[in-house]
């Protein structure tokens, strides 16, 4: 196995006694010393700081940048204006998922794709392969950028204080702006993957250790904690957000991933459009759905889901599952045949033939606190 990659803040995680794990080829903190639940609570009640520097940043620039983004992206990029952000899917000709991403409009002819760590090279190669024009430049900037997510109800007041600017007025949901934090030039966006109000902060990776230490020092008295992947997974699952490589992979059609809401057939031509239209016409046979357990137990990835207790009809399998600290019950996402309606019962096969009843529900599992204004 090749050497695991490390973010520029690796040493500070070790100093903070984080437990490190292999996450898609990266050595990342799964939790710090106080444990996953305490970290989870910090984000829901106060604020938490996530090192997500492993994420990839691919810059698209040039006269044909917009046309290129339209071609490789499921969402309608023409709707983006400088300072705005979109969530989108990157799909192949069969409309299978290459990755999900956020897309930043830096200027009329410059865009920034933020993609998942384990797909950086794949997405970059895909972009190069589909670059039809000389008027497009594709730059993989993943090593240049570090990225922290600051999430939780106290983030707005805290970060506004640090940048000496009222962020609730100047950076709204899915918008970004630039600011100095402790003399480091940052791009601050009001985005995140926890369901809480908060920010994602991009800057030169050489400043990462300095900025991490600064955030911890300034934020700790206000309840800020560093947060690992364990709590991050609980937070995103409670929102019903997809995890790349788990809730979808390269065999998942974009409509099966439940991403029709960011797939705009009326925007003109794009890669995978015909395959999307075809499946739409035929009808989607399976789709990622949310469910919760009605009995005790915790659903885990790979568990089988049945329609009935006698296991005569298989509905699908769990793609992500965990225990919701807020609901105090097992919750999950599963690739299910699309027949079960909201509220319909299903049976999750935990271990040793033990079945627990659950029901199909509508995400999010807990109320989101993001400020969509």
């Amino acid at each position: 196995m090749s050497q695991l990659l490390r973010t520029p803040v690796y040493n500070l995680h070790i100093q903070a006694k984080a437990k490190m794990v292999n996450f898609g080829g990266w050595e990342m903190p799964i939790q710090y010393s106080t444990g996953i639940i305490k970290e989870y609570e910090a984000v829901r009640n106060d604020m938490g700081l996530f090192d997500v520097s492993h994420m990839g940043e691919i810059e698209i620039s040039g006269k044909d940048a917009l046309a290129f983004c339209q071609k490789v992206c499921s969402n309608n990029v023409a709707k983006l204006k400088p300072g705005k952000i979109q969530y989108a899917a990157i799909i192949d000709h069969q409309a299978k998922m290459i990755d999900d991403c956020t897309l930043y409009c830096l200027s009329a002819d410059k865009f920034l794709f933020v993609v998942n760590a384990s797909h950086i090279q794949e997405v970059y190669d895909w972009f190069e392969e589909n670059k039809a024009s000389e008027e497009v430049e594709i730059n993989n900037k993943s090593d240049d950028y570090a990225l922290f997510a600051l999430q939780g109800p106290k983030s707005d007041a805290f970060l506004s204080e640090l940048v000496k600017r009222n962020l609730s007025e100047t950076v709204r949901y899915y918008e970004f702006n630039v600011a100095q934090i402790n003399d480091v030039a940052c791009l601050i966006s009001r985005t995140g993957y926890t369901g809480e109000d908060g920010f994602e902060i991009y800057f030169d990776s050489k400043d990462a250790a300095k900025l991490w230490a600064y955030f911890i020092e300034q934020g700790e008295p206000l309840g800020l904690k560093p947060i690992g992947l364990g709590a991050r997974d609980l937070l995103r699952l409670e929102m019903g957000y997809l995890l790349s490589g788990q809730d979808f992979n390269k065999n998942t059609h974009v409509l099966e991933a439940g991403l029709s809401w960011v797939t705009k057939l009326d925007k003109g031509s794009f890669i995978g459009k015909d395959a999307v239209a075809n499946l739409k016409e035929q009808g989607v046979k399976q789709r990622v759905r949310a469910f919760k357990l009605l009995g005790k137990g915790v659903p885990r990835e790979g568990y089988t889901i049945w329609l009935d207790e006698d296991k005569t009809q298989k509905l699908g399998q769990v793609t992500s599952g965990s225990f919701s600290p807020q609901l105090k019950q097992g919750i999950g996402l599963a690739m299910l045949s699309t027949e079960p309606k909201l509220g319909s019962k299903l049976f999750v096969e935990l271990r040793k033939d033990k079945l627990v009843m659950g029901e199909v529900c509508k995400p999010p599992f807990v109320k989101s606190s993001v400020k969509k204004n």
């Binding site: 444990g35 996953i36 639940i37 364990g230 609980l234 137990g297 915790v298 225990f323 271990r351």
Partner: protein, 131 residues
């Protein structure tokens, strides 16, 4: 890390307490085990009267991270399970040797005792496992 001297320990990180005046033992998991598992959110235990078999799983512990089997250090039948854990599974984290006990088992024979480690041996075992 705390390993009480009056308990016996297994390589699977369970503890066994021999109950005086009874041919029964109490079984739980060690402080080391609960720390490795992290926040415990659900405990699955056998019912009273169920049989358990030495070195075979008799229940499971779910933490937010993963699910782990608990192996029976003895053979016998369950005389009591710690039903309080159904509502407060976190007791296994908070107090693994007292409130966080799992089951009380009436043992068939005392043969199991030779397989177990005392506190000192167990501490040494963990140190080697950590390395």
């Amino acid at each position: 890390m705390d390993f009480p001297e009056d308990l016996y320990y297994t390589k699977e990180h369970e503890w066994v307490k021999l109950l005086e005046s009874e041919s029964a033992v109490l079984i739980g998991i060690t402080e080391y085990a609960q720390e490795k598992l992290g926040d415990i959110v659900h405990v699955d235990l056998p019912d009273e009267e169920d049989e358990v078999h030495m070195n075979e799983p008799f229940g499971s512990i779910e933490s937010v991270k993963a699910v782990s089997d608990v192996y029976a250090p003895v053979s016998g039948h369950v005389v009591e399970n710690n039903s309080a854990l159904l509502d407060s599974p976190e007791a296994v984290n908070d107090d693994p040797y007292e409130d966080g006990w799992l089951v009380k088992v009436e043992v068939e024979s005392m043969d199991f005792a030779q397989e177990l480690m005392d506190a000192e041996e167990y501490a040494e075992f963990i140190e080697n496992e950590e390395d």
